[in-house]
Symmetry: C2
Subunit: 313 residues, 2 copies
């Protein structure tokens, strides 16, 4: 029997934010305690087509399924009327090796688990009374990070900083439709918000460490390769608490690694973000906190398994 | 639109040995000339279930598709009435990153491309008048290596050496049904055949270097991980010509690597097997030749693409 293939429409119908938030929270905690298997990803490049392919696998120890995820990005596709990103998730039994299902999610589950991880980290680490949220970037993750954080706590004002004024305006309009109060902001003003989330593919920092206010929290989710850089090393030097979703991965290709190599912090200064989700953190007044999230493969396994339980109970 | 899934029955109907032999030959030649992309594989282990999963990717430069192959081995499955191995091949466009199809081949294409590579190397390197063929091992590859070599050249006698006399007898019977003259043989007699192919998961050499005769050819295809070992270092010391399907891979986890580390040969003594397929080789009388094949990911891409051209022209 060939494995069933579920398309995005079926996946959207079967998935709730609560399901994703629970799976992501549990898995970040499991990962913090070493109860996951996440091998180094496999990577191919297609320079002539300006494309690449990443294959990531992950497993939460003792759960019934693991996943192998294929994600491609071909950056000239839009000129041919095709989406840039494609991908699917294979759900495989960790007990028999049988391929149970293929989720033809086109990257949707990755987008959701990334948004959920960012929202959970930001909510756990920010001051309970933090009111303003700034987001750097205007892409899919800029939209999702704000939407998912708004599920977890009230937000007074959303400041959007993007390179394109058109896209910034369009995203503010979307947020306003959702009942959030959003407006475009310059980088300096955005960096001074109570909560800051960066979601860009930048290769140089998008904000200045000195503009972040005492008592603020900053979550970086855009830096996932060694040549990318969103958060300045100086911000890590100012931080009273640094959280990483995966110590080695953030050291290898996150902003945490840039800060360590710049001498702004040490390679033992970080705390697994999962530990901060387990119980409320002690947050000294005026402390700056930073979360560097690079994406953990075990999250794919947990979210895909949860979705598949709905699709094929 | 979700990608189509083709099952083994459809794949068997669409595939001919000629198609596989042509794809494998062309790709080994392309690989010898550096015209392939083969990233290091991704690997997961499930100790409690005695299982593992390998993910391999490959691309022949400038061809339209690449592949990502998932292969699992869960060694306790037979006790539950399930096959040990599962797997599938995703065929992805190297121009747009779109997943074109899923070949639910259950490892069949890997078995065929491995058999074709072994047969092509053995045929190209053995003396034209070599008459006896010995095979070590009684599994699927023992059967396939003999069958595929018999497509390329006449074979007088097949000697089968296995640990289980029952399985050895059964395999001889299968070969006799195909019109080959097969009989069980002890290791020493088998090692003295004109052509020797080893297909075992052995962790210590299965034959003695001194038993291989002048003028013989030996192909090893079983050693594909550092802890495995089929061919003794002394055989590489005696060899006038050593071929590898991938220099680095054979150095890292083939018998060639064991021989280099034992000081029996040097790490520059090997020739890419693809070069030997391009033109007939000069073979001094009495020379011993050895091929160490560990399996190249680009072969999966070439064979899967050829099959998909038949399935979805």
């Amino acid at each position: 029997m060939t494995p069933p293939v579920f398309d995005t429409a079926a996946i959207v119908r079967a998935t709730t934010p609560e399901m994703v938030l629970t799976a992501v929270r549990d898995t970040l905690i499991a990962h913090a305690h070493g109860r996951t298997t996440v091998p180094p990803p496999l990577h191919l490049q297609f320079p002539d087509a300006d494309g690449d392919c990443h294959v990531k696998a992950g497993w939460v120890t003792d759960t019934p399924d693991f996943t192998v995820k294929i994600a491609t990005g071909f950056y000239r596709n839009p000129t041919a009327g095709l989406p840039t990103n494609h991908g699917l998730v294979c759900v495989v039994s960790a007990r028999t090796g049988q391929i149970r299902a293929i989720l033809d999610d086109q990257g949707l589950l990755t987008a959701w688990r990334t948004a959920a991880a960012g929202a959970l980290a930001t909510h756990a680490m920010a001051r309970p009374d933090a009111a303003t949220l700034a987001v750097f970037g205007t892409g899919e993750q800029a939209r999702l990070q704000v939407e998912w954080l708004a599920r977890l706590r009230p937000i007074d004002t959303v400041l959007v900083h993007g390179r394109s004024l058109d896209k910034t305006g369009a995203l503010c309009k979307e947020f306003n439709t959702l009942g959030l109060h959003a407006r475009p902001a310059l980088a300096d003003e955005a960096a001074a918000a109570d909560m800051v989330i960066t979601t860009t593919p930048a290769t140089v920092p998008v904000l200045q460490a000195g503009h972040v206010r005492a008592g603020a929290h900053v979550t970086g989710i855009g830096t996932d390769m060694p040549h990318k850089s969103e958060l300045p090393p100086g911000l890590f030097a100012r931080a009273a608490l640094i959280a990483t979703d995966d110590h080695q991965q953030c050291l290898d290709h996150g902003d945490f690694g840039h800060a360590v190599r710049a001498g702004s912090t040490t390679d033992t200064s970080d705390t697994p973000v999962g530990l901060l989700l387990e119980r409320p953190i002690e947050r000294p007044d005026g402390a700056i906190t930073v979360a560097d999230l690079t994406g953990v493969g075990a999250l794919d396994a947990a979210v895909a398994s949860a979705v598949l339980r709905e699709l094929a109970p």
